[in-house]
């Protein structure tokens, strides 16, 4: 009997140690980095989280800088009930569509999709119910990031995306955790680029502090924060 417990303990220790190594290697070290070169004609599936209000405005302004013929298809992730962000995303899409040459053959409706996820925590929500809503949000993110790409019938949205743009607030941390789960499991996962808000001059936001060790690129917009992340001038 003692022998069985001893073996089980040894096994458990081994599994936990391996998991810890895997966690460290895939999430923190982000190795081995697959810096693969792409040819200029290649397409890249882009996803962006629209965190409502100023977050959405900044994220869409960042996106407007990109070549939508290269970054296609696009996935917009919005929080439940945030109709304004959905509307703004669709406005950007139609603006970009009008910009592209008339000779471009566009497949209307196939170029982008909008995913709705529950909020991790609503403004003024009680702290007691936050674990429940956050878990619900995480499960939905895992569904979209981990499960749906495997089971989906539309090949253009599988895998989840090649790159994910994040700029806060809290719910985007939960989305980032779902991506980390994919990395831990060895499934395909997008590159994560976090851009701290233009409003953050001297200190990082809470989502910035949480995501900094997890993302592939962490960019700030003020030289006062250069010690915390990459500074390349104003991006918005």
């Amino acid at each position: 009997m003692n022998h069985v417990i001893w073996t089980m303990l040894m096994g458990l220790t081994l599994v936990l140690t391996l998991a810890a190594f895997r966690l460290y290697w895939t999430i923190i070290r982000k190795g081995p980095t697959s810096q693969r070169q792409r040819s200029s004609e290649e397409k890249c599936h882009l996803a962006v989280f629209l965190g409502s209000g100023g977050h959405t405005s900044e994220a869409l302004m960042l996106l407007s800088a990109l070549d939508f013929r290269r970054y296609t298809p696009r996935t917009y992730i919005v929080s439940e009930g945030d109709f304004l962000s959905t509307e703004k995303a669709m406005t950007l899409e139609s603006l970009k569509a009008a910009e592209s040459l008339p000779s471009d053959i566009r497949r209307e409706g196939n170029d982008y999709r909008i995913l709705v996820i529950p909020r991790a925590r609503r403004v003024h929500q009680s702290l007691f119910t936050t674990p429940y809503t956050s878990l619900r949000c995480l499960l939905m993110c895992v569904y979209h990031v981990t499960i749906s790409p495997v089971t989906t019938s539309t090949p253009s949205f599988s895998p989840f995306s090649d790159v994910l743009i994040l700029n806060g607030p809290g719910t985007c941390f939960v989305l980032c955790l779902a991506i980390c789960l994919n990395r831990f499991l060895g499934l395909s996962s997008p590159k994560m680029i976090y851009v701290e808000s233009f409003a953050r001059v001297k200190s990082l936001s809470l989502s910035g502090k949480l995501l900094r060790p997890l993302v592939d690129r962490f960019i700030v917009q003020w030289p006062q924060l250069e010690s915390k992340g990459e500074y390349r001038g104003w991006l918005v």
Partner: protein
């Protein structure tokens, strides 16, 4: 000439009160501003702000025509038709107004708990892009303010972010 005042998505009673005070209205009229449009959000500042959502209140004080309403889906038309904008310190509003090239006076909301907003307003004030004021000093600020002395705000340039994403994804 027209002034547009915006408090953003929440409430900012002290700014609305200050703007409707005889001192501020007097300073505006002295500067030839005869139209005052106020987006007051959820602010409550006495009888003037007894407005139903979706409606507006109009009245004239001291020769200044005043219009008050709570929200509109987009404020861009208001920014472009105004000659001066007085706003809360929200980064989105600051960015939108500065990009229209209109002179801006920012009044940070001292009742907001997480007041990092004030940081942005004060650093942009330090760089000469906008004027900075408190609600109590607003009349003096307007009297002393000369929008032509502000530094021109740079236009949006997407090249830096495009380079980051292209590089990260292995293009180039």
């Amino acid at each position: 000439m027209r002034v547009f005042v915006t408090v953003g998505s929440t409430k900012f009673d002290s700014l609305v009160q200050a703007v409707l005070s005889p001192e501020v209205i007097g300073s505006l009229r002295n500067k030839q501003y005869t139209e005052l449009v106020i987006q007051c959000g959820n602010s409550e500042s006495g009888s003037e702000t007894n407005i139903q959502a979706g409606t507006e209140t109009r009245f004239t004080t001291d020769g200044v025509n005043i219009v008050l309403w709570r929200f509109k889906p987009s404020l861009n038309d208001e920014f472009t038709t105004a000659d001066l904008i007085i706003s809360h310190a929200g980064s989105g509003t600051i960015l939108d107004v500065l990009r229209t090239g209109k002179p801006l006076i920012v009044v940070p909301n001292p009742t907001l708990l997480d007041n990092h907003q004030e940081e942005l307003a004060s650093v942009l004030y330090g760089q000469g892009y906008l004027q900075y004021s408190t609600a109590t000093n607003l009349a003096q600020t307007i009297t002393a303010f000369d929008g032509r002395k502000l530094t021109k705000f740079p236009p949006f340039d997407g090249a830096a972010f495009r380079a980051v994403v292209d590089q990260e994804m292995g293009f180039s």
